[in-house]
């Protein structure tokens, strides 16, 4: 394998791995912040217990998310140095702002939150976790603004042999960003919510700490319901935008070789033959693709062959069709799981309202499995987004094969790929073990430990600077 392929495998694996933890962190910390706010407002210790218990799980997850994230900041330069040179003028700014605005906020206020239970007034302590939550959302916003630029470049000009920024505001108001960002954040909230729901389901089935988990479930199901709706709406908006800006990705995600009929039917399943550039056997729902693409029940959608011709004229000879099967199937996995999340949330809210939740064995069992749905859905969504953009790394400007580092050897990349993968596997195993341990310890484990020395100005504390 050559440097390009190895680098792609490395980017895909490290980024997908990182993105298992990110959405869970974003979702959990948001829900924990709600719980702690309830504690401050209602002065009920049960909410504090919730914030602390889910906080333990959040911290384990956050640690892995952070350390796997450090790598992201470095690997553009390490593996994709030609890409970095070409787009650094535009692409570097959001990354730097992300660090300055979001990472400092997350890390400082998280430190204050972990070690500050006994040292800060309650409201200020709750504010700290809200600032961590805000930090994670800022982080998502800026990294997605960078990603959106790769999907749909705006605010740039090609000069001095590279892309240079000429309108920063355009980058922050990129239409792609404003469909991608809400979709990702709602997906993250759902990930956190379904995690809490799934763990609570285990407890209900075992009849352990039922009251505690009922309280957690209640908060989580509200978040799940709202994010389920948010995912669907923002997902639809994203499809409308996709047809306009990246029709090739849209066509590939539909397995659409020739221009569709008008109105366009949606292909549920297809047997795709990428060699012959046709599908043998399709299952279709009439009108639906027109609706997905334009929000109305008419309109034809361009096929890959038409687009290939147009792109060849525009960008010169080459293959502009992304890996169709991967794009097609990852899109289906994502949408089906997204729909399932919404349906299960509605069902759960109904059961809770009718006070049937704790005894609904089948629902609870299903919710344990459903913990995995958002994780798989998130990954599938990113696979579709990134694979569907190929062969481009920056749409219309630079191909992935030209982006790789010039001075790095395949051996070096292979070495880091193997060691990072091994390291990540170990991390993953340890993390799962710790999750299980913390969950088994249960919410009662956290016995209040009070601070025996309340006076900060003891003799010891004072004399450092005398």
């Amino acid at each position: 394998m050559d440097v390009v392929e190895l680098s792609r495998i490395q980017f895909a694996s490290t980024t997908l791995f990182h993105f298992l933890f990110v959405p869970l962190s974003i979702g959990l910390v948001f829900i924990i912040a709600i719980m702690e706010t309830l504690y401050v407002v209602k002065k009920d210790d049960k909410y504090k217990k919730m914030a602390k218990f889910w906080g333990h799980l959040f911290l384990i997850n956050f640690a892995v998310g952070v350390v796997t994230g450090i790598l992201q900041e470095f690997q553009f330069g390490m593996n994709w140095s030609e890409y970095s040179r070409f787009v650094g003028d535009v692409f570097g700014a959001p990354l730097a702002i992300e660090a300055l605005l979001a990472f400092f906020m997350e890390s400082t206020f998280l430190g204050l939150w972990i070690f500050g239970w006994d040292r800060l007034p309650k409201w200020l302590h709750a504010l700290c976790i809200w600032l961590v939550s805000l930090g994670t959302i800022f982080s998502a916003f800026f990294i997605l603004s960078a990603n959106s630029f790769m999907q749909h470049p705006v605010g740039e000009v090609l000069q001095n042999g590279r892309l240079e920024m000429n309108d920063f505001l355009a980058i922050l108001t990129n239409g792609q960003l404003w469909v991608e960002f809400p979709h990702t954040v709602f997906g993250s909230f759902a990930t956190g919510a379904l995690f809490i729901i799934g763990i609570s389901a285990i407890a209900f089935l075992r009849k352990k700490h039922v009251e505690f988990y009922k309280g957690s479930f209640k908060v989580a199901i509200v978040v799940a319901l709202i994010s389920g709706i948010g995912i669907a709406l923002s997902g639809h908006e994203q499809a409308l935008y996709l047809v306009e800006t990246q029709p090739m990705k849209m066509a590939a995600s539909e397995g659409l070789w020739e221009d569709s009929a008008d109105p366009a039917p949606w292909t549920v399943l297809a047997n795709i033959d990428t060699e012959a550039k046709e599908n043998t056997g399709e299952l279709k729902i009439p009108y639906l693709l027109s609706f997905l693409s334009y929000g109305e029940f008419s309109g034809s959608v361009e096929g890959m062959n038409t687009l290939q011709e147009r792109y060849t004229e525009l960008y010169g000879p080459g293959n502009y069709i992304p890996p169709v099967k991967t794009t097609f199937w990852s899109f289906r996995v994502m949408t089906v799981l997204g729909g399932a999340v919404l349906a299960l949330s509605i069902w759960g809210a109904y059961l809770y309202a009718r006070k049937k939740l704790v005894n609904s064995k089948w629902y609870l069992r299903l919710m344990i499995i459903a913990i995995s749905f958002p994780f798989i859905g998130n990954s599938a969504g990113w696979i579709m987004t990134e694979i569907g953009r190929q062969p481009w790394v920056v749409f219309g400007y630079m191909k992935t094969e030209d982006a790789v580092s010039a001075g790095v050897t395949a051996g070096e990349v292979l070495f880091s790929l193997i060691t990072f993968s091994a390291l990540y596997l170990i991390l993953f195993a340890v993390m799962i073990t710790l999750f299980v341990r913390e969950i088994k310890k249960g919410p009662e484990h956290d016995i209040e430990k009070t601070d025996p020395i309340a006076d900060p100005f003891t003799k010891e504390g004072q004399h450092a600077f005398s």
């Binding site: 330069g77 787009v87 990354l95 906020m105 500050g116």
Partner: protein, 338 residues
């Protein structure tokens, strides 16, 4: 007036200086925890002394790298791909260390704890050691061709001089961390930190003199900008002597200020000596990357300048506040596991 390129070079330098000043002591605490602490509780006290800070300290590095990417894409691209394996090792270290702090306290089994203690030790040694090696190689010059591509052989990165640089930086971190320990720990632990810091004084003096001596002969650092670095060197000697005085007199706060100043002087000198270059080519002076050739366009730099100037006061403000909140020493009698 400063040009934007110069301003951003200074900002990147400040971020690296800040990183080594801050994470320098928590690397040091990570290493010292293995040797100075005698039992599990003491080790925990060491870790808690940096508990609320280390993560934010590490963000200084992330921000430095991010700023490099945004302001000097060619520097970022050439350096990270050129020192590929160095950065891979730094990442292993940082990844291991980061999770170790979090995971260590989650179970009580001695093997579990011991394993993570080793990870903390190596995770705290590898980054400063590798950074020291890398920065030394950087000022010595590395083979960079006319296309800004760096093709370094092993001996360009690993040689007596660079390894000396790595060891010196690491030992300075240990020393800086021990002095930080005297500020945040109590009783016998505090005493032991102070004693260890004192014992390191002569060793580090030898390392520093040897390193600066080799720098004098191996690089152009001392000649590029008149006598600036000579003056800084003299200041450094005074600060070092002062640090010895304060450590012996148990004036820990002042001693910490001095060890911090040594760190600041050392890292700042690297950047002063580099300027206006950001990477020195050993093939031809003409191939060196400079603040002009490596940088982003004016528009991008201007936007970044406004944004960072608007954000920095807040960032610095709440970080200082967090140090204020945890100004109290780590007490064994308190809740120790988080």
């Amino acid at each position: 007036m400063l040009s934007l390129n110069e301003f951003w070079f200074i900002l990147v330098a400040v971020l690296f200086v800040g990183f080594f000043f801050l994470e320098g002591f928590d690397f040091g605490v990570g290493i010292a925890s293995k040797f100075v602490a005698k039992d599990d509780l003491e080790r925990r006290a060491f870790i808690n002394s940096i508990g609320p800070y280390w993560d934010a300290n590490e963000v200084w590095l992330i921000t430095a790298i991010g700023a490099m990417f945004a302001a000097f894409p060619n520097w970022y691209a050439s350096m990270l791909s050129g020192f590929y394996l160095c950065f891979a090792f730094i990442l292993f270290g940082l990844i291991g260390r980061g999770v170790a702090f979090e995971f260590r306290g989650k179970a009580e089994h001695p093997t579990w704890r011991k394993t993570w203690d080793w990870v903390i030790l190596f995770g705290s040694i590898i980054p400063p050691l590798t950074f020291g090696i890398m920065f030394t190689a950087l000022i010595q010059g590395v083979p960079i061709d006319e296309n800004m591509h760096m093709h370094a052989g092993v001996s360009d990165v690993i040689n007596v001089y660079t390894v000396l640089g790595g060891v010196t930086l690491t030992m300075l971190c240990v020393w800086h961390g021990l002095i930080f320990g005297t500020l945040r720990l109590m009783d016998t632990l505090r005493e032991r930190c102070r004693r260890a810091a004192k014992n390191l004084l002569p060793i580090n003096a030898v390392l520093l003199v040897a390193f600066l001596g080799m720098t004098f002969f191996n690089t152009d650092m001392f000649s590029v900008h008149g006598n600036i670095l000579e003056y800084l060197f003299m200041v450094g000697i005074l600060v070092y002597i002062a640090s010895g005085y304060f450590i012996t007199r148990k004036r820990d706060g002042w001693a910490f200020l001095m060890s911090g100043l040594i760190m600041i002087l050392l890292i700042a000198s690297v950047f002063i000596g580099l300027f206006p270059r950001v990477m020195i080519s050993s093939i031809s002076e003409a191939y060196s990357l400079t603040v002009q050739t490596a940088s982003s366009g004016d528009y991008s730099l201007k936007v970044m300048t406004y944004i960072s100037l608007a954000l920095l006061p807040f960032v610095l403000g709440y970080q200082i506040w967090s140090y204020y909140v945890f100004r109290k020493r780590v007490d064994h009698k308190e809740h120790m596991e988080y």
